[in-house]
Amino acid sequence: MKISKSPWILHYDGSSCNGCDIEVLASTTPRYDLERFGIINTGDPKHADVFLITGGVNYQNRDVVQQLYSQMPDPKVVVAVGICACDGGVFKDCYNIIGGVDKVIPVDVYVPGCAARPESIIDGVVKALAILDKKRERMAQGLVPDEKVWTNTIVRPGSQEKQED
């Protein structure tokens, strides 16, 4: 496939065990070298196109994740790295884990594995780039970047009130 731009990635640890985070970092280092695609790991959400996020997201981290997501300019794609980020994984039954990144922000690509291997992370990012291109085209036509409308409601265990996110 062709990569039309040099997309930059933002990496954030959404309550993971760290295993997937070091694999994300490892995939940017010489052995796997994500940078050969012109992909750079940036620390600034305002420069980023791809959001790599690991972990099942806990209640304190939810706001941070949503804020980072909202600071990224459109078009943007989200890659959930690791089985925790996909659906909570081994921590699914923990009292503090919301259980999956897609409960707090829309996710475009899911990379399974515990820990996800660098090869599959790179594969996930490359898949995300195709989606990024599609979103860019939609924006050029004056449409909203996402085809589907994302809605989700989370209820904190123990509390009655429903929060609209």
Binding site: H11, N18, G19, L25, T29, T42, G43, G56, D93, A115
Partner: protein, 365 residues
């Protein structure tokens, strides 16, 4: 109204939770007077998962996998600490081969942790190529781990009663060969850390912690040893450490350079310990049969790459434990960190946070 330009202004700068130098979220409120930090207020909780409470939902054999996922970097050690506690409660006598293999893997994990740390430290003071070089070398350690355990960061080779996997003599042979090459390459990298004037100017005399304060604040691991306190839990002789020859590595300056030095020396020490393990590797079984359920309590201390970790297990005779408690090294080192940050330049803060080798996911579990 006249403005007094000389008045020192107090300002609060938030650091984190998302910050470029740290892969993990920690938040610090830095109170600054001009560029100097006068106070630092940590707030944590972004990675708290509450995995200790999962003992109620997973039985004691399944929980090994959860204990391991406390942290993806010291994953081997966490699994080992937990199973050791259960084995002690159940009075299981582990075959010597399993002990030596555990020790070998624990040391390989220390090597990959220290190389990773060196890389992140280089990144923190902006030496990008050194970062890449360290991580390139780290991949070789991961190769050895993958060869023998099958995993890169999460190994899942421990089980109550021994190991799940045995290694072949060819694998050990391969490890020895890789180690020789790796040691030569590591020397080049570590000489840069210890001799390059730019690197020294960032680390020498920065963030000094005196031995007295380090002890008082309950620091542990390389952070404590860099302040001149000779304490290393491996000397307790758990697993096969009692049969290996080594001395804790200490340095006396207590600054960032000393911490770097201690970790570099430990890297070579680990290589030596792996070689000793392989030389003495006994044959025989790798696991014993486990029957019944644990009943009782036990506490294990283990020297993780980042310092002393403590595992407490309380069992009640059923398959489900009553309590699992894990006190991890980073948590113990945070008070020491706050002490060193006080009075530092803002630009040095990121690097100083790194010198305790923070692992937020094990701090909060």
């Amino acid at each position: 109204m006249a403005v007094n330009n000389n008045a020192k202004k107090i300002s609060v700068v938030p650091f984190g939770p998302q910050h470029p130098v740290l892969p993990e979220p920690i938040h610090l409120d830095l109170v600054l007077k001009d560029e100097k930090v006068v106070y630092a207020l940590p707030s944590i909780g972004f990675v708290h998962r509450g995995l200790e409470k999962l003992v109620e939902k997973r039985d004691y054999e399944q929980f090994v996998l959860i204990a391991e996922r406390t942290c993806g970097i010291c994953s081997f050690g966490h699994g080992m600490g937990y199973v050791e506690a259960i084995e002690k409660i159940m009075n299981l006598d582990i075959p010597p081969r399993a002990k030596f293999l555990r020790t070998m893997w624990a040391e390989l994990a220390r090597m990959h942790n220290h190389l990773m740390w060196l890389g992140l430290q280089a990144d923190a003071f902006g030496f990008e190529s050194l970062f890449m070089e360290c991580w390139r070398l780290r991949e070789k350690v991961l190769d050895m781990l993958e060869l023998t355990t099958g995993g890169r960061v999460i190994f899942s080779v421990n089980k109550v009663g021994g190991l799940r996997k045995d290694v072949t003599p060819e694998m050990l042979e391969q490890i020895l060969k890789t180690l020789d090459g790796l040691e030569k390459e590591c020397r080049v990298v570590t000489d840069t850390f210890l001799g390059d004037p730019d690197v020294l100017s960032r680390m020498k005399g920065v963030g000094v912690l005196t031995p007295g304060r380090a002890e008082e604040l309950g620091c542990c691991g390389p952070f404590l040893r860099a302040s001149g306190v000779k304490r290393d839990c491996r000397q307790l002789g758990y697993e096969a450490y009692g049969e290996l020859k080594f001395e804790p590595i200490v340095s006396y300056d207590g600054d960032c350079y000393a911490r770097c030095l201690v970790r570099i020396e430990e890297l070579y020490q680990s290589m030596d310990l792996v070689r000793q393990c392989i030389a003495k590797m006994p044959g025989g079984d790798i696991a014993v049969k486990v029957t019944g359920n644990p009943n009782g309590e036990y506490m294990v201390r283990i020297e993780q790459p980042r310092g002393e970790a403590l595992y407490y297990v309380k069992a009640n005779g059923t398959r489900y434990l009553t309590r699992y408690r894990n006190r991890t090294p980073t948590y113990a080192n945070i008070p020491g960190l706050i002490e060193t940050i006080k009075g530092a330049e803002l630009a040095d803060v990121a690097m100083m946070i790194l010198t305790i080798d923070p692992c937020i996911s094990c701090t909060e579990r």
